[in-house]
């Protein structure tokens, strides 16, 4: 499987201007715009940790060698408000990831686009549109 294929050279100004700012860290300080990644991986676990959740996947190379990667996801509380639970991403699920690798060359990446293999997004839902998202509460 491809392991670090340059796919798109992004237009950073436009891109960043259209994404929400002030998450917990400076993205471009952490991820390398010169190291795009795009590959398929199999979920081994999802860490529901703050300030951001991380999805662990195994990526199989064309030589058959399996390399573990970590992909950053939203804050766990935001995922919960969008209706996610610990069961939403079972171990063994195949996902497609597109983003950029950590600057220090570690196998960590931002998940700019994460989908299931049928092309559907992993993170669908709105924190404002799903009053039942939070467990243990009832909608008014």
């Amino acid at each position: 499987m491809r392991k670090a294929l340059a796919v798109v050279v992004p237009a950073f100004v436009l891109l960043l201007a259209s994404t929400p700012a002030r998450a917990h860290h400076a993205f471009a300080a952490e991820f390398d715009a010169d190291k795009p990644i795009k590959f398929k991986g199999t979920v081994t676990k999802m860490e529901w940790i703050n300030p951001h959740a991380w999805i662990h996947i195994d990526v199989k190379g064309e030589d058959g060698k399996v390399t573990p990667w970590m992909i950053e996801a939203a804050a766990p509380n935001s995922l919960l408000r969008r209706g996610w639970t610990k069961e939403s991403l079972p171990k063994g699920t195949e996902i497609l990831v597109e983003g950029y690798q950590a600057k220090d060359g570690a196998n960590r990446g931002n998940g700019s686009i994460i989908t299931f293999t049928d092309g559907k997004k992993l993170f669908v839902g709105s924190s404002a549109g799903d009053p039942g998202a939070a467990p243990g509460t009832t909608a008014k």
């Binding site: 400076a26 300030p51 804050a75 600057k103 404002a128 009053p131």
Partner: protein
């Protein structure tokens, strides 16, 4: 130790662009537009606790003013509230945004970037009625910084994609998972805006989701702690003025958190005094105002205000920030890797 220039101003642009929506009914101004969060406000009576204090208890959020700029854009002049037409336009944009959140497939041509994906954000439920978070002075702008404040070092924040990253100490207290300070812990940002108010006789406590602050506010009139005792979140004292909870907070360490999102920007000084007012307007809305008086930092006091609302199903969750703060590691190790590459490239040239 500089990173390549990756749009250091993008965060500011993004905040405005992405959330040019926002807001909700405003608080405490002379003629606030009618509240959509509290439709029953006309017949509503302020409930009291069993011991007779106004009851503010519940979990509230400042989500509705996500994206509202601190300083009012010049074209609005002294106008604090949007017109009905402007609000309707913003409502349409909000609706489109919420519909986009529910689209199941990736839009064709979606860009891949190093920035946070759109799905990370929590959303306003109704458009913010205000043109700025600053409600006083009337021009909606923060007063000038003092000459001394302009020389203060601003820690590297999440809005800077080109940070100085020599040490963890270069980063903001938010990125370091320490504290966002008093304003930073309640001002609306892209997620984690929850405020749980719990009352007991003689005390009000505010649990703030991000970065899990708990402000315990005594109401018994005790004096402030000695000026020798200082902290990140200060020493609050509360009292009731009618049904309004007034909280005065002093005894700050100084040079820690500032006014900009998540406690960033020019840090406040140790002379900082905050006076906050919480006025419940209806079952699901509190008018929140904070007057910021820091003569070492700002030329004059000013007031920021916005609504806090209760929303169906909304509650606080734990935010144990440091447990997975890979970003700090990655930013520092990334800077070192970059220096190494630069040094190798320089050596090759020789």
């Amino acid at each position: 130790m500089k990173y390549p220039c990756l749009v250091p101003v993008a965060a500011v642009v993004a905040g405005v662009a992405m959330f040019a929506l926002a807001a909700g009914p405003v608080l405490g101004q002379s003629a606030p537009p009618k509240s959509k969060a509290s439709p029953a406000a006309k017949t509503w009576t302020q409930p009291k606790t069993p011991w007779g204090d106004p009851d503010l208890q519940g979990t509230w959020t400042s989500d509705d003013c996500i994206g509202t700029p601190m300083n009012r854009p010049a074209n609005f002049g002294d106008r604090l509230y949007y017109t009905e037409q402007e609000l309707a336009d913003r409502q349409d944009r909000l609706k489109t945004q919420l519909q986009t959140d529910l689209v199941e497939t990736v839009a064709s041509g979606q860009r891949v970037g190093t920035g946070p994906p759109a799905h990370w954000a929590e959303r306003a439920r109704r458009p913010c009625r205000q043109t700025s978070l600053v409600i006083d002075p009337p021009n909606g702008k923060t007063p000038d910084l003092t000459a001394e404040a302009k020389t203060r070092r601003i820690p590297e924040g999440a809005g800077n994609n080109n940070p100085k990253a020599d040490s963890w100490e270069d980063f903001s207290y938010y990125i370091r998972c320490i504290s966002r300070g008093v304003p930073g812990s309640i001002f609306p940002v892209i997620y984690g805006n929850g405020q749980q108010i719990v009352q007991a006789p003689g005390f009000v406590t505010i649990m703030q989701e991000m970065v899990h602050e708990a402000r315990v506010i005594p109401l018994d009139g005790r004096p402030h702690a000695s000026p020798n005792i200082r902290s990140y979140m200060g020493d609050p004292r509360g009292r009731w003025e009618g049904n309004t909870l007034v909280v005065e907070t002093t005894n700050f360490l100084g040079n820690r958190n500032g006014l900009v999102g998540n406690g960033g920007g020019t840090p406040f000084s140790d002379a900082m005094k905050f006076t906050e007012r919480f006025t419940r307007l209806g079952p699901d809305e509190i008018a929140y105002k904070i007057t910021i008086d820091d003569p070492k930092t700002y030329a004059s006091p000013f007031t920021v205000g916005f609504p806090l609302t209760q929303e169906p199903g909304y509650q606080n969750f734990e935010y144990a920030c440091h447990e997975g703060n890979y970003a700090m590691f990655d930013s520092l190790s990334g800077a070192r890797a970059q220096e190494k590459r630069a040094a190798e490239a320089a050596a090759k040239k020789k």
